[in-house]
Amino acid sequence: MDIRVRFSKYGPIKYVGHLDLMRYFQKALRRSNLSVSFSKGFSPHPIMSFASPLGVGITSEGEYMDFSLDENITPEEIKDALNEQMADGVEILSATERQSTKKAMAELYGASYMVYFKRTDASFTPDTAALRKAVDDKVKNASSLVVTKKTKKSERKVDLLPLIYEMEVLERFPEDKRDHYIPDWRHNGFLLSENDPAFYMKVCARSSDNLKPELLMNAVFNTAGTEDLFTIGIHRLDMFAQAEGGSLIPLGDVS
């Protein structure tokens, strides 16, 4: 049976990179005693694939991993068996059986994030009204948002606007999420003040047009060169596929 699990990543383990996280899951799958399907060849390993790598330092409550089992058990049992093997900071939030064998990476269309300021300078006070105005002017009431993308070979101009599905300035980072996924928000190098605004965004995440939250923040607020005041913190909320008719549905709801 083909399985998709949704999991979270937060706390100290957010500093573990994607390749190491894959190796972590390979071992966890072996320890779980689930009869995971293996690759063939001289070094067989559990076949698994991830929707999208998560950068070092980024937290998430919407990561997805696909794998297959050679036995039939309930998604709830799979979730429990894996959770028994998880380290602090990685939780299996749900497991679903899938009919389609299409991989999460191929289905991935969009992603939603909560973005915030990590203050490097404690005296930095963001002006929420001005930030709202920037979003209105450059995203909501604009006809294009052109940035220059530099690659190793060339520079090209890209209009980001079609890649932005939603963008809002929130009064503050939702407290329940903040306290759970960023438990160190109050200290530890980044001061996320009680009253700081946060940014909600749902953007394109197709492999060809993946819009990174940092790039969008810079395009809207011109954050480049502000490292003395703050850097940008990112929390991934969910990842989406495109359903028939064009609407976005969470990868975990695609069967």
Binding site: I13, V16, L19, R30, R31, D184, G189
Partner: protein, 622 residues
């Protein structure tokens, strides 16, 4: 969720922040208010190297079995982080609790190779512990050293409160009991504790000893300065390998460690008696674990870790007597579980080739021979019981089995080495290449050229080996010898199949100074560290010019330690340690090597009377 010692802004700007977060699967977390003794175990090198070390995992397991002790780990922060910590005054911390090392009762440092000595000072420096043991107070952790380099602790003696000589399984519990008792009854002071600890077998407290020197710089005497302090420290030997603690739930790092697999120690010690090999001497007698114990650990460790590979560890795995039976078991278990098997330290013969063909992808893998010397004469001098027939038969079988890549390991600069011995190295490689074409004459079926890689290191004499009296050579001479090999190789008929790599010469000489140095070398190490040397084992951080400056500023002549052949009558800095191997045996072996060029049989063929029968265990009691 626990708080990290490093702030987010730091973790986001350094390489591999995962090295510093702890929290790995199977690591031990205790309530610090419920333990009486906190031990920080340090491997003074980067995390990926330190986490690959089996010894720490064994003692971590053993210490944490005690409910009154919490053992944690600490490694050398990589230079990127190290600089930030110094600049911002961030104290070095242990991974599990993220608490400062300064708050611990003990800082244990394992000494696996000499080139990590400056990193010991880095760890002390970042921890805020004075470099010199005698300058520490009752509030500082006790700094204890152990491991192979503790067999000559003198070059680093001033930096340690105490050393543990031998295998930790024996006396650590007694040391901990003493500490906890003295803390409880209020009698603890650093000095009072060290005074009593010095009476525990295997414990060496450097500050209770002094050295007098002759005018020529050699040692006149070495003796305790206080009553009841032993003048000889006896190596501790674990006599029951089956009952010894072993980590059946080893810690699984997130960051990929060098040794990214289950490691199963099948035996300790070696029967062979190669005259250059310190491990082969100081781990005597050879002690095998029983096959049932090994089977049990293999399965438990695979289940508890989820590793996809298992490796057997020992000095010479082919000498494990029930190897065929154990390999059969492993192959069956591992096939079922889809686990890879790797078998380092195997002698290349029909049996091992058969095994390897079952567990490896022949097309991708290479075979490793370690003849150590090119000529039979030289191999007899070092007592490497390997003949040219053994090598050629192994190679022939390997080529017939489908292997094409062969790696050959040698040493240059061995005692009595001549030009002919050097040239015999590429000649042997040539013979093997030639054998390939002889064995597989049909160009169509053999499928390409063979690849023979020659690799040489420069020989460094080590304490408690028969070569402990030998001289070394200047870096230019080592490089000259490497170029003799290189030139000869380029003239070989099959040179297109051969390639050659050699080791750094400057680090070799420094390693030699540390290996056989005395207490006067310590100030050179301190000077070098305070002038920017650390991670000397890493070429990109090795600063030979600073070391040159350190020796000359400190008035220490490096040649005194390397360029002299020692006289048998000279008092050596490590003579106060009794490893159980008699001085007479080592002297006799030295003479057999350089004068008689005679081979000494291995421990199973015939006891050579090294003295280790006194431990009444392993190969000595058959």
């Amino acid at each position: 969720m626990r708080q990290l010692a490093l702030t987010d802004d730091i973790l986001m700007q350094i390489e591999e922040p995962g090295r510093y977060i702890g929290n790995e699967i199977n690591s031990t977390v205790k309530d610090k208010s419920q333990v009486a003794l906190r031990f920080a175990f340090c491997f003074p090198d980067v995390y990926e190297i330190g986490m690959s070390h089996l010894g720490i995992q064994i003692l971590y397991e053993m210490f944490n079995r005690r409910s009154d002790v919490w053992c944690e780990r600490v490694y050398s922060p990589w230079p990127d982080l190290s600089e930030i910590m110094k600049e911002r005054n961030i104290p070095l911390f242990a991974l599990e609790s993220q608490d400062p090392i300064k708050d611990f009762d003990f800082l244990g440092i394992t000494l696996q190779y000499e080139m990590c000595y400056t990193n010991i000072l880095q760890v002390l420096d970042l921890s805020g512990i004075p470099f010199h043991a005698t300058e520490r107070t009752d509030d500082d952790p006790l700094v204890i050293g152990g491991g192979p380099c503790a067999y000559n602790p003198e070059p680093i003696a001033p930096f340690f409160d105490l050393f543990y000589i031998g295998e930790g399984e024996n006396e650590y519990n007694r040391l901990f009991d003493l500490y906890i008792q003295m803390k409880k009854d209020g009698s603890y002071s650093r000095r009072a504790f060290l005074r009593k600890a010095a009476e525990i077998p295997g414990i060496y407290v450097p500050e209770f000893y002094e050295t007098e020197y002759n005018t020529d710089g050699t040692i006149k005497s070495f003796h305790p300065t206080e009553e009841k302090i032993p003048s000889v420290i006896r190596r501790q030997v674990d006599t029951d390998m089956d009952d010894a603690p072993y980590p059946s739930k080893p810690i699984i790092p997130y960051v990929r460690a060098t040794q990214d697999r289950v490691v199963l120690e099948v035996m300790r010690g070696c029967i062979r008696g190669c005259r250059f090999c310190q491990a082969g001497m100081v781990y005597r007698p050879c002690r095998q674990k029983s096959i049932d114990v090994l089977k049990k650990y293999a399965v438990e460790m695979l289940e508890n870790t989820g590793y996809d590979e298992i490796s057997l560890s020992s000095l010479s795995t082919s000498d494990y007597e029930k190897l065929p039976e154990f390999i059969d078991f492993l192959i069956e278990e591992c096939e079922k579980r889809k686990i890879n098997i790797t078998l380092p330290s195997l002698r290349i013969d029909a049996f091992s080739l058969d095994v390897m063909s079952k567990v490896q992808d022949i097309k991708k893998s290479s075979l490793t021979f370690a003849p150590e010397a090119g000529s039979q004469r030289m191999r007899d001098v070092i007592n490497k019981g390997l003949t040219v027939d053994d090598i050629m038969n192994g190679a022939r079988e390997a080529f017939l089995g489908g292997w094409k890549k062969v790696k050959l390991y040698f040493m240059l600069g061995l005692p009595t080495e001549t030009e002919e011995d050097m040239e015999a190295i590429p000649d042997l490689a040539q013979d093997i290449a030639h054998l390939y074409y002889d064995t597989l004459p049909d160009k169509a079926t053999r499928g390409g050229r063979c690849q023979i890689t020659i690799s040489t290191s420069f020989f460094v004499p080590k304490p408690f080996t028969p070569f402990q009296w030998a001289r070394m050579y200047p870096p230019e001479e080592y490089l000259r010898r490497a170029s003799v090999v290189n030139h000869r190789m380029k003239d070989e008929p099959n040179h297109k199949c051969l390639s050659y790599q050699w080791h750094e010469a400057k680090t070799t000489v420094l390693e030699g100074i540390f290996a056989r140095g005395d207490r006067r070398v310590a100030r050179v190490i301190e000077y070098a560290y305070t002038h920017g040397c650390y991670f000397d084992a890493w070429n990109e951080y090795f600063k030979p010019e600073v070391w040159d400056e350190a020796f000359s500023t400190c008035g220490v002549d490096p040649d005194f330690y390397t360029m002299r052949e020692r006289d048998i009558s000279e008092i050596l800095p490590w003579d106060f340690i009794d490893t159980g191997i008699t001085r007479r045996f080592l002297e006799n072996e030295w003479k057999r090597a350089v004068t008689d060029q005679a081979v000494t049989p291995n421990c199973r063929e015939k006891c050579s009377g090294c003295g280790c029968t006194q431990f009444k265990t392993g190969v000595c009691v058959r």
